[in-house]
């Protein structure tokens, strides 16, 4: 992925168009791609979500004047950032708006939405506009050397991810410049920091010859991009190990593998199409005697699962997934990846993971 040198020109063109229609005494409008699953197509060949190209037109009216003004001011901020080669986190951008008097944002989610709109409007990713996320991109430990450059001197840095002891390497917000050296057999992408800590503590990566990545819930774009580049450059398979619940399947795993419905124009880069689902699957509950370590599905879980079966192009395409979700709905329970502690604290290391890794072909797509 390359930075687009024409971002500034794009912003100018958009503004020029608006200016022209105002001068013609017409109501200006902007066309935004619709950011929702309804505008998403799943291409099994390429392996990620793509936009269908549906657009909504936001015409300047009484109802839209506030968002319209905020969008334009945000674009102006982006232009300044790119021109001065500066960056602003999403939170920074939110605070910048506080100087806009009446047009200021009251809550950060409002400014995030406008930012996502602009990103989709120009079909770029927000880093190209000078905006970076607040959260870091995940933690890494295991058989991996990351090649980076010193921020001041530009000299080459070799970061050995086996040398962090009980800690881990933090994935930076931008990963495009990184290089990798590894001989690991696979990458294990883990949902919770808790389980990641357990695996690091017992040096699971050494025993299994792998790279451990903690996603900390839904993986950030940087995290997805990091895993994607690592996996593609070094031809290492990616296995996801998340909670056995609708959120784990539909939000964490689905986003890791094919990207999000919200920012589909950039999924091309921010997804890991060759990821496979190790667990926890609904059938693991019986296989590993976890029946008494489950929780009943909540109403939101059931709604999310049904919604996935009905509307999510990814799950609609993969029959094994439909079976798994239906099975979970039938059982009416969810299971967390830490549930194995029911047997013993290290059961997951000693029994579960080796048993699963013995046959990766059984993993869900």
């Amino acid at each position: 992925m390359s930075t687009n040198p024409n971002v500034v020109q794009c912003i100018k063109n958009a503004a020029e168009k608006i200016h022209t229609s105002i001068n013609k005494h017409e109501k200006p409008s902007m066309k935004f791609p619709i950011r929702a699953l309804s505008n998403i197509r799943y291409r099994p060949k390429t392996g990620y979500f793509e936009m269908k190209g549906l657009r909504k037109t936001r015409t300047l009216t009484y109802n839209t004047v506030k968002t319209f003004a905020q969008t334009l001011r945000m674009m102006s901020l982006a232009k300044t950032l790119v021109e001065t080669d500066d960056i602003a986190t999403k939170r920074d951008a939110y605070y910048q708006s506080k100087a806009w008097a009446g047009a200021r944002f009251d809550e950060q989610p409002e400014s995030d939405t406008v930012m996502d709109d602009i990103e989709a409007f120009f079909e770029v990713n927000r880093e190209q506009l000078g905006f970076i996320p607040d959260e870091h991109g995940g933690a890494v430990a295991g058989e991996l050397v990351v090649l980076d450059r010193d921020q001041d001197t530009g000299s080459r840095l070799r970061i050995d991810c086996t040398k962090f002891g009980s800690g881990a390497y933090a994935v930076p917000n931008s990963v495009e410049h990184l290089g990798f050296e590894t001989k690991a057999k696979f990458i294990l992408a883990i949902e919770t920091a808790g389980l990641f800590q357990r695996l690091v503590k017992h040096n699971f990566w050494r025993a299994a010859d792998c790279i451990l990545v903690s996603m900390g819930g839904v993986p950030t774009r940087a995290c997805r991009r990091f895993i994607r580049r690592l996996s593609e450059q070094c031809s290492v398979p990616v296995y996801a190990f998340v909670d056995g619940d609708p959120y784990g399947f539909c939000n964490i795993y689905r986003t890791l593998k094919v990207g999000s419905g919200n920012a589909a124009h950039i999924n091309k880069y921010f997804c890991v199409p060759n990821a496979r689902f190790l667990g926890v699957t609904p059938s693991d509950i019986k296989e590993f005697n976890l029946e008494d370590a489950t929780h009943p599905l909540k109403e939101v879980d059931i709604k999310r699962a049904r919604d996935a079966l009905k509307n999510d192009p990814f799950f609609k395409h993969h029959e094994p997934w439909q079976k798994a979700i239906k099975k979970m709905l039938k059982m009416g329970v969810r299971v967390e990846q830490q549930a194995f502690a029911r047997h013993s604290l290290n059961y997951v290391i000693d029994t579960y993971l080796p048993a699963k890794l013995a046959d990766p072909k059984k993993f869900l797509p």
Binding site: K12, A15, I22, L60, K66, F68, A69, R73, S76, K79
Partner: protein, 558 residues
């Protein structure tokens, strides 16, 4: 002024006696005899007879002062002033004099003690009548007639005098002059509470500061002067509202003199006096009328003592009652009054004439509301007269909406009966009930079910009748007659419909303004952003803002 003793007075006293007396004790049974110990004195008819004696109405009052509105010092003050002002206005109007009434509350040295003065420019009172009017309860001119007037029972001012006497031991002082060529009479009167007779303490003739006519009443009493919803101030304000032709002067302790100047120079039409309508009569009153009538035959009694009983209707009644037209009324009174009443109820009789009720009038209501309340919208409605239980009545309503009235509180309700403001017992009054029964949401106000609406609104309701049915003798709330409630609701709904048109129009205007200022808030930011992105000049930016504002406003109107 009627000098004969009245039904109401007698009837009232009789019924109250019954209330006071416990039922006659049953003869002691064997069991009771055994149980009663030696020290208890057994009663018999003779010993009981010694205890049985007449209760004067004055004695009755001393025990039941709350019935007449003297429950507490604050209310006593209001009731006294109310009775004084009511009488003054009635007298002035009957004599065709534009009323000027002065009310003065003078604090005395002793705490909680005040001298209350009500003075009018009315026709004055004959010297011979003064003692009885002020020193005898239930003496008056208004009880025996059916005419729309403020006072009804002849109990008010003498009750106030009695209250003053009870709490301070001081007489009521009355000065009155009815003839400018003669000196004024000056009286100090006390009430003999046992006999319900006046006792004259001082009787003088004075030259009354050159005042030509009028009456001045001074009563010293234990009272409390306090402002607020149930205050004298509020009563006088509402009196001015209901009587735009009256000039009111009010001197309160420690305050500047307050003058309500008249907003109308037209004397209200004097309501006509009418005879009772047969459908409104009850058996006791019928018996009394049969006794007292000057007619010699039953038919002529029916014909001449009631309204709307023509010769044909009288025949019909007699036919229903199977009574002879020539029967003596006094005989019927003893034996067949019940039959007669049943026959009257069976007979269809035309409603009573309604020209005996005089409304304030829509125009005057509007005028006074505008004068007394700062609001944005006013509406008034006078219904045509109607009838309940044989008594004609008329309902009027007025609304004053908006202005500085609080929008988050219950509406202000002004209740008037025969032009007299009602302050107490708001919750149990038919007016309040009617207001709460209307769905004000339809008219643009908020309201929780079964209670008064909330909004910047003053609601005025006037019920005028030859006999306003009050819930108690202290005349504080109007009784719930379905006919009255229906008329109040109809009057209010008519006003409400006009109000809702206004409220909606105003709401639209507010919305319009809000939208315009909303647009004006954000459009400059579009200008700023475009200038920043496209390096526009300040004048280009201003042009963008101006054009956009124009485009948006035009599109919204189109």
């Amino acid at each position: 002024m009627a000098a004969s003793s009245s039904t109401g007075a007698v009837g009232g006293a009789v019924s109250r006696q019954r209330d006071l007396f416990s039922p006659p004790p049953a003869p002691p049974t064997e069991a009771k005899k055994r149980r009663s110990n030696a020290s208890s004195i057994k009663k018999n008819a003779f010993s009981m007879a010694k205890e049985q004696r007449e209760i004067s109405i004055a004695e009755f009052f001393t025990k039941n002062r709350h019935l007449l509105g003297f429950d507490n010092p604050r209310k006593a003050l209001l009731t006294t002033i109310k009775e004084g002002v009511d009488n003054a206005l009635d007298a002035c109007e009957e004599a065709g004099i534009m009323p000027v009434v002065t009310v003065e509350i003078i604090p005395l040295e002793k705490d909680d003690r005040y001298r209350i003065v009500v003075e009018d420019n009315g026709p004055g009172i004959l010297k011979s009548q003064i003692p009885r009017i002020f020193g005898k309860l239930l003496y008056g001119s208004k009880f025996h007639r059916l005419k729309m007037s403020r006072g009804q029972q002849g109990i008010g001012i003498s009750a106030a005098a009695m209250y003053g006497q009870l709490t301070t031991g001081k007489p009521v002082i009355v000065t009155s002059r009815h003839n400018p060529k003669k000196p004024a009479h000056y009286y100090e009167i006390m009430i003999d509470t046992k006999k319900n007779e006046p006792k004259i303490i001082a009787d003088d003739e004075i030259d009354w500061d050159g005042r030509r006519r009028g009456t001045r009443v001074e009563i010293e009493m234990e009272a409390r002067y306090q402002k607020g919803r149930l205050s004298v101030d509020r009563y006088l304000l509402q009196t001015a509202l209901a009587n735009p032709h009256v000039k009111l002067i009010f001197r309160a302790p420690g305050e500047k003199e307050l003058v309500y100047t008249p907003t109308s120079n037209v004397m209200p039409e004097q309501p006509k006096e009418i005879k009772p309508h047969p459908h409104g009569i009850e058996v006791g009153a019928l018996i009394y009328m049969l006794h007292e009538t000057k007619s010699r035959t039953l038919k002529s009694f029916l014909n001449s003592d009631f309204s709307r009983v023509t010769s044909r209707v009288a025949d019909e009644i007699l036919d229903h009652a199977k009574l002879a037209a020539k029967a003596r009324p006094s005989r019927i009174a003893r034996q067949e009054a019940d039959n007669l009443l049943a026959a009257i109820r069976k007979t269809k009789i035309m409603n009573p004439p309604t020209d005996c009720v005089a409304p304030i009038g829509e125009e005057l209501i509007l005028n006074t509301l505008k004068n007394r309340y700062e609001a944005e919208f006013y509406v008034a409605k006078t219904r045509s007269p109607s009838v309940y239980r044989g008594n004609p009545f008329v309902v009027e309503a007025g609304l004053a909406y908006g202005g500085k009235q609080p929008a988050d509180k219950h509406v202000r309700v002004i209740r008037l009966a025969n032009r007299v403001p009602l302050l107490y017992q708001q919750a149990s009054c038919a007016v309040t009930r009617s207001i709460a029964a209307i769905s004000w949401k339809n008219y643009g106000l908020s309201q929780s079910a079964g209670s008064l609406p909330v909004g910047p609104l003053t609601i005025m309701v006037h019920v005028g009748s030859v006999w306003v049915p009050f819930t108690s003798e202290s005349k504080e709330g109007i009784a719930h007659y379905p006919e009255i409630i229906k008329e109040i609701k109809l009057a209010l709904c008519e006003c409400g419909r006009k109000l809702s048109t206004f409220v909606r129009k105003r709401r639209r205007a507010v919305e319009e303004h809000r939208k315009r200022s909303y647009i004006k808030l954000y459009i400059p930011h579009i200008g700023i952003a475009l200038r920043e992105i496209l390096d526009l000049s300040k004048s280009q930016e201003a042009e963008v803002v101006e054009t956009l504002t124009d485009v948006l406003e035009r599109s919204r109107k189109g």
